[in-house]
């Protein structure tokens, strides 16, 4: 799809999303700043921001192989950790001063085991993230965050006060609010921004200083509001799934004439649909509450399927999507079972759904094109 949106801010977001060590990272390091890497949306970036560090979510953007990590992972492991760990072994993440990993999935949690054995990052922690919602789970996760806070204070010689945390929550909530504003604009009949462009914007939120991000995002919103909307699309689609951080994946779909109007993916709407509750006095409780109970959950939260289905259904309706594409990384079991349930629900809702199993890197473009093309045709578009 030929984009009509021209925006310097967008160009910067695209640049950040298409690289690992982007210029903002370089600038941060040049100024003596420290960077905390993390895997998984469950990481409260606020904690890192409050420590005066830059939160950076690890991706494997630009990876071309797994030649080094294949010694540690097997051929039945997800290609995301394989590529990410390969990059780590090559030194592509040497700029991070610490790393936080969760027991997010069977593949990522093993990254921790290998990372601590093969790399000398001075601070690497694994946090136990509940797999269900509930008061006990919030309490548990709060204590995990409290331990992390203490460890970070000791390691980096900083004090992460409640006031600093509250300030960080405000900054990150501002990002979420602005992003929701951007998503709102996509509800229109002629959305002025494409799905690929939006993904570049959301990915960038995990790889640059949040204040700078908010400033650029405001500029982008001004540009988007002034831009002419996209009118020449064949169908409005929603993207579902887990780890998906490559705007090029969506561009392939949109180059076929579809327009991705919304999503429920790890680097997408689930990051921003809700705010952390600023009225809760204890900021760590607010963060734990947000991650465990409040924000749209991922498939590993096994008790929350009905809520997720409701979220997807209302997204489809609010964004007037004609259909959806479920993108699953091969070998991902939690999203595999989610896909199964979604297939049944989509049938019930009478909404077309295409399921695509793919590798982390965009290796099967031809097949993706063929399948999306056929899907659009079966939709009569």
């Amino acid at each position: 799809m030929e984009t009509k949106l021209k925006s310097k801010a967008l160009d910067e977001f695209i640049q950040v999303a298409s690289t690992i060590a982007n210029p903002e990272i370089q600038k941060w390091k040049d100024n003596g700043g420290k960077i905390m890497g993390y895997f998984c949306s469950a990481m409260p970036s606020e904690l890192i921001t409050a420590a005066g560090m830059l939160p950076f979510r690890l991706r494997a953007t630009g990876s071309t192989g797994t030649e080094l990590s294949d010694s540690y992972f097997s051929s039945i492991n997800c290609t995301f950790p394989r590529h990410a760990f390969n990059m780590a072994l090559k030194g592509d993440f040497d700029f991070i001063d610490g790393l936080v990993i969760f027991n997010s999935c069977d593949h990522i949690r093993r990254v921790y085991d290998h990372w601590i054995r093969q790399l000398d990052t001075p601070f690497v922690k694994i946090l136990s993230l509940p797999k269900k919602s509930g008061a006990q789970q919030v309490e548990w996760f709060r204590s995990e965050l409290a331990i992390l806070r203490e460890n970070m204070e000791t390691q980096f010689g900083v004090k992460i006060t409640d006031d600093k945390l509250k300030e960080a929550i405000k900054i990150h909530n501002e990002s979420r609010r602005l992003l929701r504003e951007l998503y709102e604009l996509r509800k229109s009949d002629n959305p002025p921004i494409t799905g690929a462009q939006t993904m570049a914007v959301t990915v960038a939120s995990t790889a640059m200083p949040p204040e700078r991000y908010n400033q650029l995002l405001k500029e982008l919103l001004d540009d988007v509001k002034r831009a002419e909307g996209n009118t020449d699309y064949r169908a409005r689609l929603m993207i579902l799934g887990g780890e998906l951080d490559n705007p090029e994946f969506l561009k392939v779909i949109e180059d076929l004439g579809a327009l991705v109007v919304t999503d429920s993916v790890c680097f997408g709407s689930r990051l921003l649909w809700k705010d952390v509750d600023e009225s809760i006095d204890d900021p760590l409780t607010a963060l734990a509450q947000y991650q465990v109970n409040e924000r749209p959950s991922c498939a590993r939260m096994f008790t929350e399927y009905e809520k997720r289905a409701e979220y997807v259904h209302s997204m489809l309706s609010d964004f007037k999507a004609d259909g959806a594409i479920f993108a699953r990384l091969t070998f991902c079991e939690v999203w595999g079972f989610e896909q199964y349930s979604m297939i049944n629900d989509f049938k019930e809702w009478d909404i077309p759904l295409l399921c695509i199993d793919h590798e982390y890197t965009l290796s099967g473009v031809g097949q993706l094109r063929t399948r999306v093309q056929a899907f659009l045709e079966t939709m009569g578009k």
Binding site: S71, H114, S128, K131, W140, V334, F337, Y340
Partner: protein, 433 residues
């Protein structure tokens, strides 16, 4: 009884029809091992009869999973069946009449085929209406992603959507805080059972039950000690039955403890008399995963062709410690620890790679292991991702390591012949046997 209920019992009835004559036969002709085999089969029969009675008469009963403490269920005097057990036996998937039918049925579901076949089969049984629908369900969400993902899909099924379910959340850590977190959930589980069955928990009864299963675990540990001897006293069936015997209906029953006494006595006798169940043992193998449904074929070949014996395996090595029954808290903490840290697969699959290193190091040293075979079930993605750590550990111990890559449920993934070839090539290359 309606058609749905009748269908839900069909595999159980089939299995009952298969095992009841075996009970009679073992009583008539026990042979050398009959006294050890009979209680296992009787237990299955008793369990199935109880489930049938509950469904037929509309009585309260539970479905549960292998990580939930059976001591609590026994002490609360409520009937249950093991959901996953249906896979291994009653469905016939384990190499019986229904194997291919079930695998094909599972393949037809829209679950990606790279997801664990065991779990896909489990889901197929639900879709096919082959699980008796309980009053309430005690679920499992560890050790792997597949289990957690399945739970969400399972509880979305129209027939199960309204069944009350309790699913504990296993923490990733192993410290006191993690144990307390899980122990609190075990107490919640008790409240849940009371709410849905009306049965209450008498702490004295729980203590009695745990003390009795402790005796069983202690004897199981003793049995595992005896298995260190070379030749090892028994082939694979009895060691693998240890987990089943203590974790099914009748947990805490002195009859069960007697079975462990008998197996210890039999093992001791065999060691003293140098009369192992399987003679001419040459290669002591540590089988580090669960056993495939077609394990019988593999092990018979291993024993006859190579003199290979499964000196230890993952399922047999799970009694790590006994439960302190001195206080209510210590009991719940002990039950919690056993449930989320010690179960087979749970110990290896849920936590850090340290568990894997610990197991391999301990077992290789204690059991005079000649080689470690990691079958690498395709559903065990977490273990596949720690296979390099297993290999490194074995290298440091100076013991050969083989990673096969198979599907414990689907013999088509890596056929038994291919597995045998891989093992033969490995033994030859390593100069074993």
């Amino acid at each position: 009884m309606d058609e749905k209920k009748e269908r839900s019992l069909s595999r159980i009835r089939e299995e009952l029809a298969m095992y009841e004559p075996v009970v009679e036969l073992l009583k008539l002709e026990p042979g050398e091992m009959g006294h050890l085999q009979l209680p296992i089969v009787e237990n299955i029969v008793e369990q199935h009869k109880g489930t049938i009675e509950c469904v037929e008469e509309g009585k309260t009963f539970l479905a549960s999973q292998f990580t939930n403490p059976v001591e609590i269920l026994t002490a609360m005097d409520v009937h249950w069946y093991f959901h996953i057990q249906q896979l291994f036996a009653a469905s016939g998937s384990g190499g019986g009449l229904h194997t291919d039918e079930d695998l094909e049925g599972a393949d037809k579901l829209n679950i990606p085929r790279d997801c664990c076949t065991l779990i896909r089969l489990g889901h197929y049984l639900q879709v096919a209406g082959l699980y008796p629908i309980p009053t309430a369900y005690l679920s499992i969400t560890e050790p792997c992603d597949s289990i957690a993902g399945w739970h969400a899909a399972f509880m979305h099924h129209p027939d199960w959507r309204n069944i009350p379910v309790f699913a504990p959340d296993p923490p990733y850590h192993t410290d006191e805080r993690a144990i307390d977190y899980y122990a609190r959930q075990m107490r919640e589980m008790v409240d849940f059972i009371t709410e849905h069955t009306g049965q209450t928990l008498d702490m004295d009864r729980l203590r009695e039950t745990v003390e009795e299963t402790n005796k069983g675990y202690a004897l199981w540990m003793e049995y595992n000690e005896i298995r260190r001897s070379s030749p090892t006293p028994h082939s694979y069936t009895l060691p693998l039955s240890c987990f089943f015997q203590i974790n099914t209906l009748g947990a805490g029953d002195p009859k069960k403890t007697l079975w462990y006494k008998d197996i210890v006595a039999d093992a001791e006798r065999r060691v003293k008399e140098n009369k192992p169940e399987f003679p001419n043992q040459k290669i002591r193998v540590f089988w580090y995963d669960i056993q495939p449904f077609y394990f019988g074929e593999i092990v018979s070949w291993l024993e006859q062709e190579w003199g290979g014996v499964i000196a230890m395996d993952m399922v047999s090595y799970c009694p790590y410690e006994l439960i302190d029954t001195s206080t209510e808290d210590s009991m719940f903490q002990g039950l919690a620890k056993r449930a989320f840290q010690h179960g087979p697969m749970v110990h290896q699959g849920r936590g850090l790679a340290e568990n894997v290193i610990y197991d391999i190091t301990r077992i290789v040293k204690d059991y005079k292991i000649d080689c470690v075979i990691f079958p690498g079930h395709m559903g065990h993605k977490d273990m596949a991702a720690s296979s390099s750590i297993m290999r490194e550990t074995c290298r440091e111990l100076g013991v050969p390591f083989l990673y096969i890559g198979l599907d414990v449920a689907d013999h088509r993934y890596t056929t038994a012949d291919e597995i045998k070839d891989r093992i033969s090539q490995f033994f030859t290359a390593m100069g074993l046997g």
